[in-house]
């Protein structure tokens, strides 16, 4: 049996999981210029909330709703209550990133305390499968791919075809100019936190459901891949994040199949290094914005 259909199908599946998280991460950074390293912890917290509300029984659609609401809520509160005061005091990019690391650890250790020593596992019923081009995929995996595609289209529509999207792009490129043109940058940045948080929460819930089991550091490990995808594509560039995720998913899947599964993560980091050498700004980015932190 050829490995190629499997590499493509499951590389795409992994890419979809990465892409939702990476787009959320990079979208928020693009608009606010705050490197939110608490993103992985918020992502993990969404798994816990979904697990608690669903009592351990996974439901993708319900989970997406819960993840979106939880992630959006937490992110907006995080952006307004924690990030904004620092930004107003003129915190640097690095200082702000350190604050987000602190928040990440607080969330992680809180979840660890709630969780205790055992991982959480969803109660998974027997799933129906579909065979496509010699590859067997579960209904759940196909739904996750579908959900990711819909979400990416929605992000595209938001950015390209709405006034809000235009305002977000303007704020990302030149916040002062956007303000002088009548754009409410405060509203835009709140929306950016909200949309980013929703994608973060959805990403967390789908990750939890797809792996079946999770603990307080599951999101932290996944977040690294999300950041790699975002950097490959060009930080602050949602389309770049999509492409970065696709490259990561396919290459790491191919590395596992062709070389050895042990080289999966290595392949991801090699891609990152190669891309940064060739295009330091990432594949998609021409030049990131970021003259000022706008929380």
């Amino acid at each position: 049996m050829s490995l190629i259909p499997g590499i493509i199908a499951f590389g795409l599946y992994s890419a979809c999981l990465y892409a939702i998280g990476a787009v959320g991460f990079t979208l928020q950074f693009g608009v606010t210029n705050v490197l939110n390293l608490a993103y992985g912890a918020i992502l993990t917290s969404a798994m816990y909330v979904d697990y608690a509300i669903g009592r351990g029984t996974p439901s993708i659609w319900f989970g997406i709703l819960i993840g979106a609401v939880w992630g959006a809520l937490v992110s907006v509160v995080f952006g307004r209550v924690i990030v904004m005061p620092y930004v107003r005091r003129g915190a640097s990019l690095v200082a702000m990133a350190m604050v987000t690391i602190g928040v990440a650890l607080i969330v992680q250790y809180t979840l660890e305390a709630i969780q205790g020593p055992f991982v959480y596992s969803y109660q998974v019923a027997q799933q129906s499968t579909v065979r496509i081009a010699g590859v067997t995929m579960s209904e759940e995996q196909l739904i996750i791919i579908g959900a990711a595609v819909v979400l990416m289209i929605a992000v595209h529509a938001l950015l390209q075809y709405t006034r809000l999207g235009l305002a977000m792009r303007a704020t990302a490129v030149h916040p002062s100019l956007a303000r002088s043109c009548g754009v409410s940058t405060e509203r835009v940045r709140t929306t950016a936190w909200l949309v980013s948080g929703a994608l973060c929460g959805i990403s967390g819930v789908l990750l939890g459901i797809s792996t079946g089991s999770f603990d307080s550091v599951t999101g932290a490990s996944f977040f690294i891949t999300v950041v790699v995808a975002a950097i490959i594509g060009g930080v602050g560039k949602p389309y770049g994040a999509m492409i970065g995720a696709l490259i990561l998913g396919l290459v790491s899947s191919a590395a596992a199949a062709v070389i050895s599964p042990d080289y999966k993560d290595i392949a991801a980091w090699v891609i990152l290094i190669v891309v940064l050498v060739i295009r330091p700004q990432g594949i998609f980015a021409e030049f990131s914005s970021g003259r000022e932190l706008i929380g």
Binding site: M1, L3, L105, P117, G212, V235
Partner: protein, 440 residues
């Protein structure tokens, strides 16, 4: 989002853009390192009592080990204290979270040593951190009875280090012996995650399979906690193994076997002691269902019979600790080597102190071996204390049975094959068959 306004902004953003990916990668790395930071915590108040520290992972992927081992330490200490303690001293079990990772374990060990004047012993350090932490405890002259299977300690020369289980490589030989002598399978897939603990099994499995004329159809090393293992699944299926031997963390196993089942590729699978624990079982049931888990899987671990006087004393003490609210769900630990081992280790430490007439590790450490080689066989601390008081030399044969420390302070025992979830013993593997797999 990439309009530019003027050459200045262009240059500024260019500089920023060039620095940003590196900065982001650096900070993301810092986040991971910080996320893995030590969570050392000593529990329980000393009040002048002597401290036995359970130095184990209580968080992170292997966190269930710490809970299992604390469930063994506490009943032992209760029995010792109830029997009047040792030389007028009573004990308590503290915990230190090693997180199962040398980077966290070393500062945790340093902090423990710096802040614990009543520390007299370490029990049950797990695999993966021994190389980093044993030298620290040895230099501090703290006796350390470990359950860690790290291979370098097969020929250990640390005076204060003792191990009452075989090395992880010996576990690998036991899998080969099981497959050869108790099953009809000859084509084996070796599937282990890329952490040090899991990888410790691989050399023994490969060499043992070769010695017993089993063929290795696939030898896969898995990266931990991926979102999909489908390509690995395809490689495995393409290799047509008849049986798989596996160690991984719960999440990796859940994803791997979920996809293996999806591809109709479930096969008889031998699990290692590294998969023991509620978390792994839950993840597997979630991934493939209880019926398939029971149908396809067995677990080969060091064997201690859930019967006999020593086990009954242990079990009663465990239930009493549960009744006192010190241990939850005691039935989970009653037949687990991960709880029985620290129970025995604490008893050996206390008996060694009695025989040495000292609670000072420098004095009692040589007696760890002596309390397992005397003339009067004892199966509990109380029996041992009475025998020593009567002027006899003792041979402590606890829940794990007879301990035979070799020149490297290692003691190996019998292996058992268990059904997961029910922990039902299917068969036991005599040491002679494992020795045969080793080529001895």
């Amino acid at each position: 989002m990439n309009r530019q306004s003027g050459a200045r902004a262009y240059q500024d953003s260019m500089r920023f853009s060039r620095q940003l990916p590196s900065l982001a990668a650096l900070l993301a790395g810092a986040l991971v390192l910080a996320a893995c930071a030590s969570n050392s915590s000593g529990q329980g108040s000393g009040n002048g009592r002597l401290q036995i520290d359970n130095f184990d992972p209580f968080s992170g992927p292997n966190s269930s080990y710490g809970v299992y081992e604390q469930a063994g330490c506490v009943p032992a200490v209760n029995l010792i204290n109830a029997a009047g303690g040792v030389l007028g001293h009573k004990f308590y079990c503290s915990i230190t979270d090693s997180r199962g990772d040398p980077a966290d374990a070393v500062p945790a060990a340093q902090q423990l040593l710096a802040t614990s004047p009543n520390l007299v012993a370490i029990v049950d350090q797990d695999s993966g951190v021994l190389t980093a932490t044993v030298p620290l405890f040895n230099t501090a002259h703290i006796t350390d009875l470990s359950i860690g299977g790290d291979i370098p300690f097969d020929t250990n020369h640390y005076t204060y280090f003792w191990r009452t289980i075989p090395g992880d490589d010996v576990a690998g030989y036991s899998f080969a012996a099981y497959l050869k002598h108790y099953t009809k399978y000859t084509k084996v897939a070796s599937v282990f995650t890329n952490d040090q603990s899991a990888q410790g099994n691989v050399p023994g499995l490969l060499k043992g399979s070769k010695n017993l004329n089993l063929s290795i159809a696939a030898n896969e090393t898995l990266a931990l906690d991926q979102t999909s293992y489908e390509t690995e699944v395809q490689r495995l299926i393409a290799a047509h193994p008849q049986v798989m031997v596996l160690e991984s963390d719960p999440q990796t196993a859940g994803v791997l076997f979920g996809e293996l089942k999806q591809a109709n590729g479930l096969m008889p699978t031998v699990l290692t002691s590294g998969t023991e624990g509620v978390s792994f079982d839950r993840a597997m049931v979630a991934a493939i269902g209880r019926a398939d888990y029971l149908k396809y899987f067995v677990r080969v671990i060091q064997f201690a019979p859930s019967a006999g006087y020593a086990w009954q004393v242990w079990n009663r003490a465990l239930m009493a600790a549960a009744k006192a609210g010190q241990v939850k769900t005691p039935s989970v630990y009653a037949s687990s080597i991960y709880s029985e081992d620290p129970y025995d280790n604490v008893n050996m430490i206390a008996l060694a102190m009695l025989e040495a007439h000292s609670t000072n590790p420098v004095k009692y450490n040589p007696y760890i071996k002596k309390v397992t080689t005397g003339s009067t066989v004892v199966h509990s601390f109380a029996q041992g204390k009475a025998a020593l008081a009567a002027g006899k030399t003792i041979n402590y044969a606890g829940v794990e049975g007879q301990v035979n420390f070799d020149q490297y302070h290692n003691s190996a025992g019998v292996w058992g094959v268990f059904q997961p979830l029910t922990n039902k013993l299917i068969t036991s593997i005599p040491a002679s068959l494992v020795a045969g797999a080793e080529g001895r």
